[in-house]
């Protein structure tokens, strides 16, 4: 079983409601502040993007369901700040110390914002792990799904694609493995591929036989497709 964020293929959500053409970038001011506070706190250097994603996924199912998008961001951020010793529970209660923090020298400065955003956080790395597959190779994803490294841990293999057979479409080089990086186990970079799955391989009632879904999947999520062996 997975967590609630892993919702690809779920039935029952109703229509997608497109935003009006003139919808603002941020529906409310606090949405913009939530995004900005979250990005700025990244500069404190206490976590990485995979830890941050996992913090949102770890919100309790009840909170994940009832929180709006930016509520998830700000709540997960508060959790991360306490878990990583940046803030205390007393701080969140409004009863903490005032005055400069030991990490204050790392605070993102206004004049550094454009450079930090332009730099981003590339995920490609050199890796000792050789690419085992080439475009056109048939592969099968891990089954059961979920993290192979940590029980209940972070992974980017959606449940709907676990145990499915597909074809390597693109090689992306080697990228940081989120399953490891989200848990402080190191970046463990390994080859990453775009893998195409026929809709009929994933869904009992595909809309069209020629449709497919492409996912970016790490080499350790894959094995050679046993059905394709020797072909």
């Amino acid at each position: 079983m997975s967590r609630l964020h892993d919702m690809g293929g779920r039935i029952g959500d109703g229509p997608v409601v497109p935003d009006p053409a003139d919808a603002p970038v941020f529906e409310h001011d606090w949405h913009a502040r939530a995004l900005a506070v979250t990005l700025a706190c990244g500069s404190l250097g206490k976590w990485n993007i995979d830890v941050s994603r996992h913090a949102r996924e770890r919100l309790s199912p009840k909170d994940y369901t009832r929180f709006s998008y930016y509520e998830k961001w700000i709540s997960a951020l508060a959790d991360l700040l306490v878990e990583n010793g940046v803030l205390t529970r007393e701080d969140l209660r409004g009863q903490g110390d005032a005055g400069p923090h030991v990490l204050a020298s790392r605070a993102l400065k206004a004049e550094a914002v454009s450079a930090v955003l332009a730099k981003g956080g590339p995920a490609n790395r050199d890796s000792d792990i050789a690419a085992a597959y080439r475009p056109g190779d048939r592969v099968k994803t891990r089954h059961p799904g979920g993290s192979a490294l940590v029980d209940g841990g972070h992974t980017r293999l959606p449940d709907y694609a676990a145990g499915a057979c597909g074809e390597i479409l693109l090689q992306h080089g080697a990228h940081v493995l989120p399953d490891s990086n989200a848990h402080g186990l190191g970046e463990m970079p390994e080859p990453l591929y775009a893998v195409a799955f026929k809709a009929g391989e994933l869904w009992a009632h595909p809309e069209h036989p020629n449709d497919d879904v492409v996912l970016d999947l790490w080499q350790s999520y894959l094995q050679p497709d046993p059905e394709a062996a020797g072909t």
Partner: protein, 211 residues
């Protein structure tokens, strides 16, 4: 289970989300951990500087310049870097081309991954449960929610952004645009057409074409 606990620290903040953000911002500012001017700068960047107009310029250029388009489809990152479109949430770009045989559509079922340097901050619908849940299983019904119907002989390919690679759809150039320059073409390109939930229509202002 890792780090799962029933008493999440966030519950100590006010429950109203606007107040929750304000409270955390105040605490962090007092301790010198964030600088309000830096927050304003981040917001200004995504509200006013970076948005779908960037992606539209890339699409218009690809429609106008075959060599540019070939280079963009083969290896987007150096091509986009030359135009100044790079950085956070666009570190590894792949551009996928719509053709009469194949329509491309982008989703992130696990969160809300999106090519920020080219399209800005994702719209509400892109982050909605309905889009995340349904796009991979029933993309044609989702397209119908946007008023888009594809021919039966057009295959739909949905890209689920599960890694740090970000995808931009290169929509098909509409008929009746042969004489248009790049700025005029860019004005036709909607954000949704670069996610794959809209097509690019012919120019509306052409007086010789009936509506």
């Amino acid at each position: 289970m890792p780090h799962d606990h029933s008493d999440h620290p966030h519950a100590l903040l006010p429950s109203d989300p606007a107040l929750r953000v304000k409270a955390l911002e105040t605490i962090l500012t007092r301790k010198g951990l964030i600088e309000p001017a830096a927050l304003d700068e981040i917001i200004d960047t995504y509200q006013n500087k970076i948005g779908p107009q960037n992606g539209a310029r890339v699409v218009a250029r690809a429609w106008s310049d075959p060599a540019f388009k070939a280079a963009l489809l083969a290896d987007a990152d150096p091509v986009l870097a030359e135009l100044g479109y790079y950085g956070r949430q666009g570190e590894h770009m792949v551009v996928v081309e719509n053709t009469p045989a194949q329509h491309n559509m982008v989703v992130c079922t696990l969160c809300s991954c999106y090519p920020w340097p080219l399209l800005g901050i994702p719209p509400g619908w892109y982050k909605s449960d309905a889009y995340r849940a349904r796009a991979v299983r029933e993309p044609r019904r989702v397209l119908a929610d946007f008023g888009v119907t594809l021919p039966a002989d057009t295959a739909v390919r949905v890209w689920d952004s599960t890694a740090e690679v970000r995808y931009l759809v290169l929509p098909m150039r509409p008929q009746g645009t042969a004489g248009l320059d790049e700025p005029a073409l860019a004005a036709l390109v909607s954000r949704d057409s670069m996610i794959g939930t809209a097509l690019v229509g012919a120019p509306q202002s052409n007086s010789e074409a009936p509506a």
